[in-house]
């Protein structure tokens, strides 16, 4: 309801403002240009992601101090704590960073965002900023039309900065002209009421503009033009910090529980900091005066003093929250509990993971593994086997022969719920990745994982086909036919064990090349089975009907085995760098497998 009303209310207010004041138009256009600049800046930095950004994030967040440092530096460079928050939520959702690191980055981002106030107060108001903006925009458009992704990224960043500067210029001009006709300071309020009212206005303005940075610029330009009092500007700045949490909350709506925890941490940080600042406002203002006097800021340079306040305020927040980090994390984990995983639903392909190439690839990898786990469980159960028994067995053939009890299982139903649903989500995600502007090698790796998922699904379908006969012939002894079906079950079980062993191996020593021996073995078994069935028919040891059923089912079984091995090989193969080249050269080709299986009967 409120959401539906918001747009008409904002539009009506804008129209009323435009009709009544030419200068209001200039201020509003300045805000709009500034926000547009921020969007371009975000788009520009997103073009740089897909490598550098993610690698830096992974390596610089292994301690709280480093995470805070990363938050400060990245927000200073990108001039957008919202973008840093969204990236952090994406990476946390994809388990690329820990919750502590995520919270550290958000804390750092709150300090980093204060550099925006310095930029505007120290530079934007002191020089004719539009003189820089126009050449920047002209150069940027040349870069935006280049083919190279990074050149385009640089173009967008430059254009973003150009628009930020142009926006500041228009806001400044608007307020300067506005003050001649209309004195906003008439609405200035002093005392506690003023603090609370202006804090609320600051928060509301930030929610509407979705940017505390834009609010701060607006406050500083208004302050410099004498349109708000210093005291009220401080309250507005406190409000802007509270309002900015809304961006993180919106970002977290589509993320998993970790993203939601992070958004809550952001809210707690800002509300606690704002509360402390409101209570100790006199002491903080005194500290601002002292710091300003120490660094040589003029007593009446309120714009720079507000920048000092903004920095002290956020550093104070971090100083309060860091010692409470352990408690905060505990509180977050208790309040937003990790949900019991529903294995029938995609666990990793959230919209938050959709934001950046590295999270897309990682989320895809994890979801394909999730599908593989579900599929392997279903394949084992479809053959009336238990994974824990075959994984622990010293004699797989004996374990399989002893597994005669048919499992109560509607294989079609479980396939639909636990395999097909995940596969559909994987296909949709991979297709979406293909339409995004991702690096070619990332798309190729995502498509390889899709191929792995496809083969896994095919293996399950093959086992579905043979389940009925496998159950009929192995649940009670029926001579040669039972041995034949137990042979097939054993061979599939061996493949499941091989994949399990590979998965459990130390990542430093495992290689997809280990699976090549199994490929040769499958081919060899396939040939031997055909020969054996021919002999049994010739010797009349089995009837024609049983033989036909078995030939069909052995076809399904070998198809399942080949697909399982290929799916695992694609999943575990080295994907980057020279190691991938070595594996590519040494992997057995189809001809090698054929030759080796024929050569060792």
């Amino acid at each position: 309801m409120l959401k539906r009303l918001l747009l008409p209310v904002i539009l009506t207010m804008l129209i009323l403002g435009f009709v009544n004041s030419q200068d209001f138009q200039e201020i509003a256009a300045g805000v709009a240009i500034f926000l547009f600049g921020m969007l371009m800046l975000e788009d520009g930095f997103k073009l740089f992601s897909g490598g550098l950004l993610e690698r830096v994030l992974e390596r610089t967040t292994d301690s709280l101090a480093k995470s805070i440092g990363f938050g400060i530096v990245s927000t200073t460079i990108m001039q957008s704590s919202s973008l840093v928050s969204v990236i952090t939520i994406s990476f946390l959702s994809a388990s690329l960073i820990t919750l502590v690191a995520g919270v550290g980055i958000i804390f750092g981002a709150n300090i980093g965002t204060t550099t925006g106030a310095w930029l505007v107060a120290g530079f934007g108001l002191k020089v004719k900023i539009s003189a820089y903006a126009l050449p920047m925009l002209a150069v940027s458009i040349v870069l935006v039309f280049q083919r190279s992704k990074y050149m385009r990224g640089a173009g967008f960043v430059l254009a973003g900065l150009g628009f930020l500067f142009l926006g500041i210029h228009h806001m400044k001009e608007g307020f300067e002209a506005f003050k001649d006709q209309f004195d906003l300071t008439r609405f200035a309020m002093t005392g506690v009421l003023g603090l609370l009212v202006y804090t609320f206005i600051g928060a509301a303005a930030t929610v509407v503009m979705q940017s505390s940075h834009a609010t701060m610029v607006l406050i500083i330009t208004a302050l410099a033009a004498g349109q708000v009092s210093y005291e009220n500007a401080i309250a507005l700045a406190i409000g802007a910090n509270i309002g900015t949490t809304v961006t993180a909350i919106i970002g977290a709506l589509t993320s998993n529980f970790q993203g939601k925890r992070l958004a809550l941490a952001h809210l707690i940080f800002n509300v606690v900091t704002a509360g402390v600042a409101l209570i100790f406002i006199n002491q903080i203002v005194w500290a601002v005066d002292w710091v300003s006097a120490t660094v040589g800021i003029g007593d009446d340079d309120y714009a720079l003093k507000l920048a000092v306040f903004h920095t002290i305020f956020n550093v104070l927040g971090v100083a309060i929250m860091v010692p409470l980090m352990g408690r905060l994390i505990g509180f977050l984990e208790r309040t937003i509990a990790e949900p019991e995983p529903d294995v029938s639903k995609p666990l990793y392909l959230s919209q938050a993971a959709d934001e950046f190439p590295a999270t897309m690839e990682l989320a895809m990898r994890k979801e394909v593994k999730h599908l593989q786990d579900n599929a392997i469980e279903l394949i084992a159960h479809g053959l009336n086997l238990h994974r824990h028994e075959i994984y622990a067995s010293d004699d797989i053939a004996a374990t399989v022969a002893a597994s005669t009890e048919p499992l109560e299982l509607d294989i079609d139903e479980v396939y639909e719920a636990r395999v097909k649903t995940l596969y559909s989500a994987i296909v949709e995600f991979a297709t979406r990745a293909g339409t995004r502007n991702l690096p070619k090698e990332v798309v190729e790796r995502i498509y390889s994982l899709w191929d792995s998922a496809n083969r896994t699904v095919r293996a399950v379908k093959a086992v579905k086909h043979m389940r009925r006969n496998a159950t009929v012939y192995t649940s009670r002894p029926q001579g040669e036919a039972t041995d034949l079906y137990n042979g097939l079950r054993t061979e599939i079980a061996r493949i499941l064990v091989e994949i399990h062993d590979l998965d459990e191996s130390d990542t430093e020593i495992r290689s997809s090349l280990w699976l090549d021996e199994e490929r040769v073995q499958i081919e060899r078994d396939r040939r031997n089975t055909t020969r054996m069935i021919e002999r049994l028919i010739r010797d009349q040891a089995i009837g024609a009907t049983t033989a036909t059923s078995f030939l069909n089912d052995s076809g399904y079984a070998y198809e399942a085995m080949s697909d399982l091995i290929e799916a695992a090989r694609v999943y575990y193969i080295e994907t980057e760098g020279a190691m991938a080249e070595v594996e590519r050269i040494l992997t057995l080709g189809e001809d090698d497998v054929e030759e080796m299986s024929a050569g060792a009967q």
Partner: protein
Amino acid sequence: MALKRTIAKLNDYQDRLKDKKAKQIKVKHVDKIISKLEAKKADLDKEFHEATKPSRKERLKRKRKVLRDQIEQAEFLRKEILKSQK
């Protein structure tokens, strides 16, 4: 025949390397893969010595043979990479 195919793949790699479409393989990369294959071989050797069933022993014997062939190919690749680096 396997060696012939390895040579063909190596030639293909060198063509791609010239076109800057492949990352350059260094001896340390091949050594790393050899150590991974050796680790698997050690596991199979242990399993082979512990196995008592003749059918299992036979199966493991054949798997070890495939692995030995792969290690040989890897050592051949190592020599070729070493030659190309001189």
